[in-house]
């Protein structure tokens, strides 16, 4: 996973921020859900992926571990779609205060 992450980072310099983070995130989704998923920015995490609150929490913790960030609860509450999540992760990684 760490390795992947490094690759994604390198990639991001070329392709821009959005895509590699989304790739990481969909890989983590697959791990947590246990099956392959198709995600786009508009994918609703609860409605489209059928996650319950525990699933969301495990998923968020996996994302936090992967990027070595903590997503504050008020930020988590605002996240509805995969696009929102990518945005939050980018924000927190670039050191923008939450």
């Amino acid at each position: 996973m760490r390795q992947n992450h490094q690759l994604a980072l390198v990639d991001s310099k070329v392709v821009g921020w959005g895509r590699p983070v989304r790739d990481d995130i969909s890989a983590i989704f697959e791990q947590v859900l246990g099956h392959p998923v198709q995600v786009s920015d508009g994918t609703d995490i609860v409605e489209d992926l059928g996650m319950d609150s525990l699933g969301v929490m495990n998923f968020v913790m996996a994302i936090e571990d992967f990027y070595d960030i903590s997503i504050p609860l008020d930020r988590i509450a605002q996240i509805q779609t995969v696009g929102d999540l990518i945005h939050a992760v980018q924000d927190l990684r670039s050191g923008t205060p939450a």
């Binding site: 319950d52 609150s53 525990l54 913790m61 960030i69 903590s70 008020d74 205060p97």
Partner: protein, 407 residues
């Protein structure tokens, strides 16, 4: 469509529960006879789920003090302490709490829920960082939302995850406040407080322990987990409730923080609600005397807890990780949980049906809480009822259907 239609999903789940012909969240007792018995649908029922750890709700001295104070000072204070003033009892109760914990300051709230709302929303504010155990009680989560601080959740009982998250904050301005519970209310597990205290020291954070279920239960003198773990000096704030081991209602916070009393003019859940009535204050004061003077209550409590925990374990039920007065039995799914609960009740045993989202990790629980006032015979009767219902539902014996790994 009504204004409450937005909660339709909850209604659906609730209706589903009630299809089993029971309403586990609306049990009506005809009367309560003692700390351990009530009348339910005309039947004598053992109470094994009421957090009445020391059985003090019917203590003759506590009742006498409450009656006497009510006669002398009336049924209520009809307002907050900043508006209507403090009664002698409020002051004495705060002194008694401070002295019990060996702390400089104590502040009394009208419930434990409000104590958490008040303390958490006041100690930290904008630019600060509140670190909550993921399995925290609703009042802790709600308190975190009332304030303006950033709220970060760490993995339940994981000092490593807590440490990692505090380390991520390195260099960021603001105070850090770690919040954990003495005994967690659903599974009865305790916080690894020694390790958490070490993280606190290393990272320069403050530490608050909610001893709601551990006051009067754990520790040499009943001060709770901080005492039992030998880390009281590392705990900056202790929050607790009068509604469990002390058999009344109300909440409190104690601390050595020098300017603690500032809370009285900034903490809204303290300022804008009526203070506790004299009768409640008087019985609580007396209950605190009992906690100090009757350590044998804790011995009986732990004897009963151990007996129930070991008995259920020996039958093959899956229980929580520690033998504490909260003993939770895992159920494989909601339907079995509801039917099991209903059959226990019909056999004369009352306990709590605990379902997600109130439970951690989506587990369905039959949650019991043991009292010092239970006789050994009552515990054995409870065990026999569990065995009987378990057998009927195919849990025990050759057709063992265990909840495999859900706790």
């Amino acid at each position: 469509m009504t204004i409450l239609a937005k909660h339709a999903a909850y209604k659906l789940a609730y209706d589903e529960l009630r299809e089993h012909g029971v309403d586990p969240f609306n049990v009506r007792f005809d009367s309560v006879l003692s700390p351990t018995e009530g009348m339910l649908a005309g039947r004598r029922t053992i109470l094994l789920g009421t957090n009445n750890y020391l059985g003090l709700t019917f203590d003759a001295d506590c009742i006498e003090k409450a009656v006497e104070a009510t006669r002398r000072q009336g049924t209520g204070t009809t307002g907050s302490r900043i508006a209507n003033g403090s009664y002698d009892g409020h002051m004495r109760l705060e002194q008694a709490l401070a002295s019990f914990y060996g702390r400089e300051h104590a502040m009394v709230f009208s419930t434990g829920y409000q104590a958490n709302l008040g303390v958490l929303s006041t100690l930290v504010g904008r630019g600060d960082h509140l670190m909550l155990d993921a399995d925290s009680h609703a009042s802790i989560y709600d308190g975190s939302r009332l304030g303006a601080s950033e709220v970060i959740r760490f993995r339940h009982n994981s000092p490593d995850d807590l440490y990692k998250r505090l380390r991520r904050l390195e260099g960021a301005p603001g105070d850090r406040l770690i919040v954990v519970e003495g005994i967690y209310s659903m599974l009865g597990d305790t916080a690894p407080l020694k390790e958490i205290a070490a993280v606190k020291r290393e990272t320069g954070a403050y530490l608050l322990v909610d001893e709601a279920h551990s006051l009067g239960v754990l520790g040499e003198t009943g001060r709770g987990l901080a005492e039992a773990a030998g880390v009281e000096a590392d705990v900056d704030f202790i929050v607790g409730t009068f509604s469990k081991s002390l058999g009344s209602v109300g909440g409190f916070c104690v601390s050595d923080s020098p300017d603690f009393d500032l809370m009285r003019i900034v903490c809204r859940p303290y300022m804008f609600t009526a203070s506790l009535p004299p009768g409640v204050v008087a019985s609580t004061l007396e209950a605190l005397v009992k906690v100090r003077a009757e350590p044998e209550l804790r011995v009986s409590l732990m004897r009963n807890a151990r007996r129930l925990y070991d008995g259920l374990g020996a039958m093959g039920f899956e229980t929580g990780p520690e033998a504490n007065p909260i003993v939770a039995v895992a159920m494989p799914n909601q339907e079995v949980a509801v039917i099991f609960w209903k059959m226990l009740l019909e056999a004369g045993l009352y306990l709590n049906l605990a379902l997600p989202p109130a439970t951690p990790t989506n587990v369905r629980l039959l949650r019991t809480s043991v009292s010092a006032a239970h006789s050994v015979q009552q515990i054995d009767t409870a065990l026999a009822i569990f065995a009987d219902v378990g057998r009927q539902l195919g849990f025990l014996g050759s057709d063992r259907r265990r909840a495999g790994g859900v706790i």
